[in-house]
Assembly symmetry: C2
Homo-oligomer: 299 residues x 2
């Protein structure tokens, strides 16, 4: 592996260890390791915790794969790459907590190289899916991501936030999956950026997860809740399922190209619930939550 590939892959692996330690420290439960290999080259390690005291189902996956030819559906988003050999490594995580007052969280950072490493880019992002509206949590989350962007001149928070708002949108429901965050396919356009600078943004992004999400977990994880809150949480997790199976490019790409299916569908919640035409009572916290699911300026 070239030095760049090696450094990017090491970043993902180190991030996995660090984040798992931080998540495990929140309560009972262990992230078990499941390694898989890709027939075309490479593989990954899924670290999965289920039925913990704080997380109902959580996964932090790292992969590094290579192939003879960039798959057509991916090349479409990155013109000029079709058919060329590629290397890709990334970290991807989804955490679904037990307590309905603790939001679900998703983030991924990934590095892509095409051909002889002259074409490369970093992608990634982080977004939060609360079930109850705590304005200060949402502001804290967005402020953490804004501070991350502000530390790197090539990253524009406002732009990455808008991409996130557009991407995590459940069109058939006219609502976002959560309250957004940041998201980007390519931080710098392939071949145009400063490698060290973009690498450092991804590194900072992985570190920022701790300060953006952990305090929100700690604040709510021991809060008392009842059946009403749990039912609502599972109902909203149905929307998480709808987004990921209908729209999420990473998920659909994985399903089409035959990646490790259990690692890909790690984003599914332990339980999801659907019920016909449900409308939360006007003035309830559940109804207020729905208002948070439209793009808004949070910082």
């Amino acid at each position: 592996m070239s030095d760049r590939r090696e450094r990017a892959y090491s970043l993902m692996k180190a991030g996995q260890s660090k984040l798992i330690n931080a998540f495990e420290a929140q309560g009972e439960g262990t992230f078990e390791a499941y390694s898989w290999e890709r027939p075309g080259g490479g593989g990954g390690t899924a670290r999965v915790l289920e039925r913990g005291s704080v997380f109902e189902r959580a996964g932090v996956n790292v992969s590094a794969v290579q192939g003879e030819a960039v798959p057509p559906s991916l090349a479409k988003q990155h013109p000029g790459t079709e058919g060329k050999p590629f290397f890709a490594t990334g970290i991807s995580m989804v955490l679904h907590p037990v307590n309905p007052y603790v939001p679900s969280f998703h983030a991924n950072y990934r590095y892509f190289e095409v051909g002889d490493s002259d074409i490369w880019w970093f992608g990634g992002g982080a977004d939060l899916t609360p079930y109850y509206p705590f304005k200060e949590d949402v502001i804290h989350f967005h402020q953490s991501l804004k501070a991350q962007c502000d530390r790197h001149p090539q990253a524009n928070y406002q732009k990455l936030k808008e991409i996130c708002d557009d991407y995590f949108y459940i069109k058939h429901r006219n609502e976002m999956r959560g309250i957004g965050g940041i998201f980007f396919d390519e931080l710098s356009k392939p071949g145009t950026g400063d490698w060290e600078a973009d690498f450092n943004f991804a590194k900072d992004g992985i570190d920022t997860i701790l300060e953006a999400y952990i305090p929100v977990i700690e604040k709510h994880k021991n809060k008392v809740y009842g059946e009403r809150e749990q039912t609502w949480q599972r109902y909203r997790r149905g929307r998480y399922v709808e987004f990921n199976l209908v729209y999420d490019r990473g998920t659909l790409f994985g399903l089409q190209t035959g990646g490790n299916i259990e690692a890909i569908l790690m984003s599914m919640p332990l339980y999801a619930h659907w019920t016909f035409n449900y409308q939360p009572e006007a003035g309830s916290p559940e109804a207020e939550m729905l208002e948070y699911l439209q793009p808004r300026d949070w910082v």
Copy 2:
């Protein structure tokens, strides 16, 4: 409405009433009516039962819509129809029972007319999704559908069964959604069939639902089950969700074209469950069930 359109629509409405009566007679619970209108013309009535004693969530929907132009994605499957005015009416149902020993059931019959009624076709089918392997149920179900086909010279059971096996296949899991049934996009190619004959096949198809599915409900609905069976049922319903949101053409077409979202997603179960890398114990009924999920000759 022309006589043909009127007769097709009446068939769907009569089928809805008849089937709802039969399903309601199985236990407690009522199919509530929700009518909706389509901005482009037409509308429908969803009849929905939730949290009944026999059905956890069940819907029997009828719609009749018209438009100025066949949508491109639909025209792709029916060459020569793109951009022409159309009329479509259909009945569509999904039933998710409470008892894990009772299979879920899906069927739909639909009539499509393009232009000035010279191009028309009937589509439809019925398929069963058991959670536990009762060979005699599966044979009974397929035999009922074969008998239906055998009553109509233009319908070839073997062919319609194979289309069903191909269609209800969860590619990323290498398994069928259930044990199949029959399915067809066009019973006779547009413009080539005998209208009365194809209408009678659809009519017979709706009637056949009663004899194919009701005895299976009655056989198992009062069977004692425990948490193990319920957990497995909800886990398998996760696969139902995966199929419908990732592959089902009717669902995706509805989501893209903005039909009534609650009526379209009536197919979602009340509860679904995911868990990492689950493998039923060898020799268990759950493991045996998985063997039923590959195409097989059942009659």
